[in-house]
């Protein structure tokens, strides 16, 4: 009896290691969050709110308007998703449902390799190849525009979206396809009205993951969007330079004095970015949960 109750030493060590590893990863996240708050919150007291949410970002003159940066990020990210979502889902449907078996075996790994391309390489690619094309096509003085950024970001998030959406489609049981066909649906009707809706929550996850990659991306965006902190309010903003939140932090962090107002402001942007991403993820999770209860499947 005594033998059985006393845990063996090996068990104890391994269990402790697993516990420490698990707890420390939670701990690090919490620490990062507190660091972000400690460095960023002061800006909300040092700078007036009207200044902070004004339309001009000129830290040298004490102007800390974050609106152009927030809108810049929103414009680039939303445009990227608008391009990547239909393309990604359709590609996933093609790979999983339409392409012959041998083609699928080749396409899948190729798409996954795309996800591994370093973002700086994509940025370089965008700067030297895509930007001149955009400039010529639009007849603008520069090819470094929000559109260029959106295209690069769309390209970056495509592998994630395709790959995850394809897995979601793959997880739909064959019996759903049978049921659709047996109801006299054509192959396309079965795909669009039975298989895709059944994989809905997986596809939403795919898009959220892709969007997460897009909104947090810094390097490629900084290289191709031109980085002018202007309000993207006019209709042609998509075809003009913009600056995103991430690019601002990355570009200016190297040259600010630690503890200055500007320094705190950059962390403040970090907090805003964090809050936006958090709300996005929460909304997505809530949507999936509600859909699932409403009779969606997974």
């Amino acid at each position: 009896m005594e033998q059985m109750r006393r845990p063996r030493l090996g068990e104890f060590v391994i269990e402790s290691l697993v516990k420490v590893a698990g707890l420390s990863s939670i701990g690090f996240v919490v620490l990062i969050f507190f660091f972000l708050l400690r460095e960023g919150v002061p800006v909300f007291f040092e700078v007036e709110l009207t200044n902070l949410f004004s339309t001009r970002w000129y830290p040298t003159f004490g102007l800390f308007g974050t609106l152009p940066l927030i809108l810049g990020s929103a414009l680039v990210t939303l445009s990227a998703i608008a391009i990547a979502l239909p393309l990604g889902v359709v590609t996933a449907v093609f790979v999983r449902e339409v392409a012959p078996h041998w083609a699928r075996e080749i396409l899948k790994p190729m798409i996954e390799v795309l996800a591994g391309i370093p973002s700086v390489v994509l940025g370089f690619f965008g700067m030297t190849l895509l930007a001149p094309v955009v400039r010529r096509m639009l007849g603008m003085p520069t090819g470094l525009t929000a559109l260029t950024g959106a295209l690069i970001l769309a390209y970056m998030s495509l592998p994630t979206i395709i790959s995850v959406a394809e897995d979601a489609l793959d997880a739909v049981p064959k019996s759903y396809r049978d049921a659709g066909l047996a109801l006299g649906a054509t192959q396309w009707q079965t795909i669009w009205r039975v298989v895709v809706p059944a994989a809905r929550s997986g596809i939403v996850t795919a898009v959220m993951l892709g969007m997460g990659r897009a909104i947090g991306e810094t390097m490629a965006v900084m290289m191709v969007t031109g980085n002018a902190a202007r309000m993207p309010l006019t209709l042609d903003s998509l075809f003009r330079p913009v600056r995103t939140m991430t690019a601002t932090i990355a570009a200016e962090m190297g040259e600010v004095a630690e503890g200055s107002v500007h320094y705190h402001a950059l962390f403040g942007i970090g907090i805003i970015l964090f809050v936006i991403t958090f709300i996005l993820n929460l909304t997505a999770a809530a949507t999936i949960f509600k859909k699932r209860r409403r009779g969606g499947l997974r």
Binding site: A179, G180, A182, L183, R193, L297
Partner: protein, 256 residues
């Protein structure tokens, strides 16, 4: 058995079928009468489901299969080139072993097929909804829950919903693959009851989930063993006086 003597609704003629070179059906010939329940029974792996899925060409999408012989529906070869598959599957409905409500409400599930077929008229759709659920003996239980998610119904209700979904297309033939395998005895009874009502208007082919069920519902029974059709005859006779030794052994439980 009022239709005896008339030409069969479905005629299966010398059909052999293989998956990746493995023979699943061996020269099967079988007549399926109209407006009656035909039962395909026998031990697992006998080719019952394969035969069923050949009648609405649901096996077409499986790669590496081979088929010879003919399947005639009202005298016409459904494997002839140029056959409209969508049309065929509207005439030949199918219900699967596991109740499989599609995403959406009870109403959406029943009206799936008609909407795909292009029916838009509201009153017409309501009629179809009522008639299909009535025929599947489900109307009374779900008439106040038509806009609830189909996944909230019980297992037995879901299976009858799947039957209603097939009936909404007004098929001529209804194929059922072990439709009660996942159900309790009471739900099973209700499904069987709806089958008895349905056979007045439909040709029904069913793979039952037990010999008892086979004996209860069969007008015509066909015993299948290892891809072969061993024996076929009126249910009333076959279960009492089987002609083939193997059928007798299976029915009396000596193997299987």
């Amino acid at each position: 058995m009022s239709d005896q003597g008339r030409p069969p609704k479905i005629r299966i003629e010398n059909v052999s079928y293989s998956y990746d070179g493995k023979l699943a059906l061996r020269n099967v010939t079988l007549d399926i009468p109209a407006r009656a329940i035909t039962v395909l029974f026998g031990p697992a792996g006998g080719g019952k489901t394969t035969l069923l899925r050949l009648i609405n060409r649901l096996n077409d999408l499986i790669e590496g299969t081979q088929m010879s012989g003919r399947v005639l529906l009202d005298g016409e070869d459904i494997y002839a080139p140029g056959t409209d598959l969508v049309e065929l599957r509207r005439r030949v409905g199918m219900v699967f072993a596991l109740p499989l409500p599609l995403p959406g409400t009870v109403r959406e599930n029943v009206l799936y097929g008609p909407k795909l077929a292009g029916v838009r008229d509201r009153t017409r759709l309501d009629e179809i909804l009522y008639r299909s659920l009535q025929q599947a003996a489900l109307w009374d239980e779900v008439k106040d829950r038509l806009d609830d998610p189909a996944s909230t119904l019980s297992g037995g209700q879901q299976q009858r919903l799947c039957i209603a979904r097939s009936l909404a297309l007004e098929p001529e033939v209804l194929l059922l693959d072990e439709p009660t395998s996942g159900l309790d005895p009471i739900s099973t009874g209700k499904v069987e009851e709806s089958l008895f009502n349905l056979k007045r208007n439909y040709t029904i082919v069913i793979v039952p989930h037990s010999i008892q069920q086979a004996a209860r519902v069969a007008d015509v029974a066909a015993f299948m063993l290892m891809g072969e059709l061993v024996e076929c005859g009126p249910g009333s006779a076959l279960f009492v006086r089987p002609r083939d030794r193997r059928t007798e052994d299976y029915i009396t439980g000596r193997f299987g």
